[in-house]
Symmetry: C2
Subunit: 462 residues, 2 copies
């Protein structure tokens, strides 16, 4: 059904002709994200400012057109895909850093500031914005807030949630609300700020964000340890924690993933025979404390039976150690262009059981499932690889996916630690949440969006 | 109106006769909290376990009886006062530490575990639960969660919110829901956990809490600095932050408060002539880092014009420095037994303007207003003292209170950083939040409690 001309005229009047697009190229580009399973919108609108967003929202309410907010389009679960068509609201013009307040350790930004750009801006003056999703050079703060993005540093520094102090947001009825504020402590009314964080664009459109900053740690020390089994590597993680060290990064890479990187980079030594797991550890802070904590990490890895230990002596060696982690996503593409990239999470002591489950799935379903992730958080990326065109493998992959999620829930974990539910995982929500909790979430959704026009078809099973 | 006997019989059947009380002593005790402006309930019920809570909630729903949950009863804004009578649900029997999981850095507790008891239990094994409200030897985790309690350590470690991973809670319709879980990263559905934190017992009754723990910092160093003006002390706070130190405590005490402590303890030297402000700083962590950070703090205080500097050489001196802060509440009682104890918060760079406002209020309304608090967070306890029986002073105090809140909002602050709104501050909510935001919060309340039976009369202006 074509959109009414009165609606389109209203949009053009609100945001200006060039910022309302209905051409095929736009509908194609704005219909997909990193999930690669898209659906075209009917119109793409690029507003500048909360007032314009409000006008667009009111038009959508009046004409009953679904509205889907979009940031960097880097999500893995289709959060910004307009699965029911309608209007994609791209926030790309709202990309300014409005204020960096050094005394109050606060940044005020518009939603489409690229995360890495904000980090560079604050690091220049000795401050630090820790959340570091792998996509940080393309993903944007607004999207990070909507999905509650994590990253390697989350174990020590927490996820995006821990850095959001306040929001300006536009409700589906066009109301502009302000939540939280420029203060770290605020208990005035309900904490709508943290309800909006991670709500995947289904409750309100975020138009401004107040972020907390911290001092930049001056020194890092980076270590690499290899192990003959996942169990040994996990024991090392537990030993590190028992040594009362909280590393800024504590990444675990399994043998299959290492093998892929070794082949991709053509560096055989990256995956020596007998290596089932690699740990990448980084501690940061003041120089003396870093020295002490690095020593404790080395001792912990040794105690857990590390087969090889390396500590970076300079920044070049540090980058070399990180390179393996950074090239992982690219390396996996050499196995297959299709992967079900799952970001499951379990209490970290149960990582060995999670990997045992993955081993069973590999065997039972004859699948390649390289896995790696943030061991400190128990947040492991389990990548079920699928050969394009192989329908039988695809079916087996879907069965393995369901068993993975069931297993994770049985281990008291969660089916998503970073990527959210979107529409890709919506049908699995009842595996983790009981009926009463889902019903309550739907009532909360209705409190924000009684007509169900904002980002429909997400989170909840249809 | 007396409660129907069928209702009372149902309660007794649910929780057992001895745990349903209607005697005058119980109605008196459970009708008030630290605000000292109470209202008696009609019945007090002490359930043991979520199932019993659920049954009681269903009975209240059926007979349309208001229900008010109660933890330690140490709140300052009347959050646990049954202002419309009905049933007080005291969680005092649910006071067990269920699990301390050293590998996963998690504690699982029932709501009425005394905060200080949990801290002692985890510190014994080298772990740490940072939130430290002044009432920690009496207030309980459930109440801390309901109010999102803070304390001196919040600047470095965050408030209660940062430590709550998951909750079990009972809704007004009797549904038992589980939110969050035993993992630090979890983006499955809406973050109901952090919506419940700070909701002041108006959305659900919290029956179990999963808390995040961190390693206990092995070493502390405690400093005291005095200043000739509040502006100098605030400049020292900013200098500390610019030196990239985040102290575990950064407490500011004004001259009037010091004077009260000096008189109370009869130690004249605690408030030397010309001292307008005292800063108490504490840094913690590994020994070498603490040494470095303490040196930076001393330099920062000197640069800001400290008139006197002291660094504790041992635990006895540390306790002596802390003593002044700890005796403050008692000392203020020597001025008057009645105080309006406000916990306003401003961006920390604006603390001087906040104190200028307090000076104006003292002068304009002829009031004594000793003030002190958590300078790192900009969270200052402004104590408007009132002489019992002095109606005119009481009237002036109320006028000053309103002007204080208006001024704080104008400084981009919040009218409560720690104590919540309860019923004591409900009429001031519209000073800080606009109509659209309050309307949204009321819709969220209705999503949990459509009949308005759970802790009625709180947060929102009546």
């Amino acid at each position: 059904m074509p959109l009414p001309s009165e609606f389109l005229d209203g949009l053009r009047a609100a945001v200006g002709d060039p910022h309302v697009r209905t051409d095929a190229a736009a509908l194609d580009t704005y219909g997909a994200d990193a999930l690669k399973r898209g659906h075209p919108p009917d119109v793409v609108v690029m507003p500048d400012g909360a007032d314009q967003v409000s006008t667009v929202m009111k038009l959508c309410a009046r004409f009953r057109v679904p509205l889907v907010p979009r940031g960097g389009g880097t999500g893995y679960t289709g959060g910004s895909v307009p699965v029911r068509g309608g209007l994609v609201l791209s926030l790309e013009r709202m990309n300014r850093i409005l204020e960096i307040d050094e005394d109050n350790l606060i940044a005020l930004v518009e939603p489409n500031v690229v995360t890495g750009d904000l980090q560079a801006a604050v690091e220049k003056i000795g401050l630090f914005y820790p959340p570091d999703p792998a996509s940080l050079d393309r993903s944007v703060i607004g999207g990070n807030v909507a999905e509650c993005a994590g990253g390697p540093r989350a174990f020590k520094y927490g996820t995006t949630k821990q850095y959001v102090l306040g929001l300006q947001a536009v409700l589906p009825n066009g109301d502009i609300v302000e939540t939280g504020g420029k203060v770290v402590k605020n208990v005035v009314g309900y904490d709508l700020t943290h309800l909006l964080v991670g709500s995947e664009g289904t409750l309100a459109v975020i138009t401004r964000i107040i972020l907390r900053l911290v001092p930049r740690p001056p020194v890092q020390s980076t270590l690499r340890a290899t192990f003959a089994s996942i169990a040994d590597a996990t024991r090392a993680v537990c030993e590190v924690i028992r040594a009362r060290v909280v590393p800024a990064a504590l990444e675990l890479i399994d043998g299959d993933s290492l093998e892929a990187v070794a082949r991709y980079l053509n560096v055989r030594s990256l995956a020596p025979a007998g290596t089932a797991a690699l740990l990448l550890l980084e501690v940061d802070g003041l120089a003396d404390a870093v020295e002490e904590e690095a020593a404790r990490c080395l001792r912990a890895c040794r105690a857990a039976g590390a087969t090889d230990l390396l500590r970076a002596r300079d920044d070049a060696e540090r980058q070399e150690i990180w390179r393996v982690r950074r090239e992982l996503s690219f390396a996996l593409r050499t196995i297959s262009p299709i992967k079900f990239n799952h970001d499951v999470v379990v209490p970290k002591g149960r990582i060995p059981q999670l990997f045992e489950l993955v081993e069973r799935l590999k065997r039972d379903y004859r699948l390649r499932i390289p896995s790696f992730g943030h061991a400190g958080d128990g947040n492991i990326h389990v990548n079920i690889m699928v050969t394009p065109g192989d329908e039988d493998e695809m079916r087996r992959a879907h069965e393995a996916e369901r068993r993975l999620f069931e297993g994770v829930v049985a281990l008291e974990g969660a089916i998503s630690g970073e990527h959210g539910i979107g529409f890709a995982k919506a049908k699995y929500l009842p595996l983790e949440l009981d009926a009463a909790t889902i019903a309550l979430m739907k009532r909360v959704k209705a409190a924000f969006d009684p007509e169900g026009l904002l980002n429909p078809g997400k989170i909840f099973p249809q």
